[in-house]
Symmetry: C2
Subunit: 232 residues, 2 copies
DNA sequence: GCCTTTCTGGAACTTTTGTTGGATTTGGAC
DNA sequence: GTCCAAATCCAACAAAAGTTCCAGAAAGGC
């Protein structure tokens, strides 16, 4: 089969034989656009490898507000945590477009890890990396204002969002940006207008582009709008 | 030496010989109250095992506000992530009281993990567990109001705080609670007064105790103050 | 005991974020 | 092209959180 295992950090340095066993352990699933892949709190759905399509990882609170943790494109993997400890899924996953995934159950993953040291090693590294991403997201929520988080989203290439969010912000609707930033559509609209007025972003036709990367970086780092009053 | 390795989840199921090698790889350090153990962004400080004293794990933003991620007592471990991937420390660690720790460097940890499969296995589980804690903290910051987070802190035994915050909130100052919740002292004071007025907490002498566990749980889950107007 | 430092109580105010609701624009289906 | 659903813009308002400031109370050192 045409699976490019080498492109996935988790399967690096695993020999042909090991890859064959991993492939044999995986089940192929397809989902229609809009279909739920698994839900938060449900029994462990196993380790997922995204082969085709776009997947949204999110949480929802009691009032129905969404928080998008990741927007994933191939080749990405998700639900590592539950796959590894066998506990309930820590978030929801939904197919945004038609989706194809490979799934390895908790039990089979444990078997594979116990006989393929390289896989176990890679898993440790992947989990450590995930942990760093979540710490960064947590600090963003703790310390940064919404305009600042929005600026960071636009600068996403070099930040935590890069691994997790696969769409350029330009392509995202305000609703989707709001879910990523953990706020509401109207607030994102307001913040966006603020950044446009400040000359940090500019609108070309329908889409919004970066106009002043330095200014965005300043805003993302300090929570303060750059004062450009001096430019007379 | 009198190290109780069995009590640390990471060292479970490791035989006497393996534990001996781990012990040999560890360096003993002591810190005075107030001393910095390591700083965020600095080169990997290695894996730490807390044997004695109280350690604060925190991040700080540009304006100098603190966010306490953990308050740890023996026997706890910290800096797993950097120890495992060798990257910079993801947070600061400071000795609150006099502290004794064992430290295993990144290189030695990798050596140990490559020869002790049980240690590698335990590390995977520990990292997965950490990840779940961070996701929960992240969702708290995204969705919960400050009174709600404060209620959750008082219910700490049954939440993610149990692993990360080793101090009963009753004993904490408002300043310390504020750092844990990611806000300021005055806001915590106001929220505390709100919970006292609502009869969810009560004051005995200097300290504040839980008066209505159900009410706190309601507040923590829904973000809404329980309406007790009906109790005529 | 006294004095200093730390902690707490609380008011008044500002800023940010969230909410509501309506007007307008856009893209795509047909 | 026309029409519809989705997306956006924007103002006014409400609520939550952050800030500033000062007065008291408690704890700990001497």
């Amino acid at each position: 089969m045409g699976i490019h295992w080498q492109q996935i950090a988790l399967f690096r340095d695993i020999d042909r034989c090991g890859l064959g066993r991993i492939e044999a352990a995986a089940r192929h699933h397809t989902y229609q656009a809009g279909a739920t892949i698994f839900n938060e709190g449900e029994a462990c759905a196993g380790f997922h490898i995204l082969q085709e399509g776009l997947v949204r990882i999110y949480r929802m609170n009691a009032e129905g507000r969404l928080h998008t943790l990741s927007l994933l494109r191939p080749l990405s993997t998700f639900n590592e945590v539950a796959a590894v400890d066998g506990g309930p899924n820590p978030f929801n996953a939904v197919a945004v477009t038609n989706v194809e995934v490979l799934v390895i159950s908790h039990d089979r993953l444990l078997q594979l890890m116990s006989t393929l040291p390289a896989l176990l090693n890679n898993t440790v590294q992947a989990l450590a990396h995930l942990n760093r991403d979540y710490i960064e997201r947590l600090e963003d929520m703790t310390f940064r204002s919404i305009p600042s988080r929005l600026a960071k989203l636009f600068l996403y290439e070099s930040t935590a969002y890069a691994d997790q969010i696969a769409e350029a912000p330009t392509q995202l609707t305000q609703e989707e940006m709001a879910a990523i930033l953990g706020t509401t559509r109207e607030v994102v609209g307001r913040a966006l207008r603020g950044l446009l007025n400040a000359g940090l972003l500019e609108k070309r036709g329908r889409h919004v582009y970066i106009a002043d990367r330095r200014g965005l970086e300043w805003l993302a780092e300090t929570n303060m709008m750059p004062e450009r009053l001096r430019e007379r």
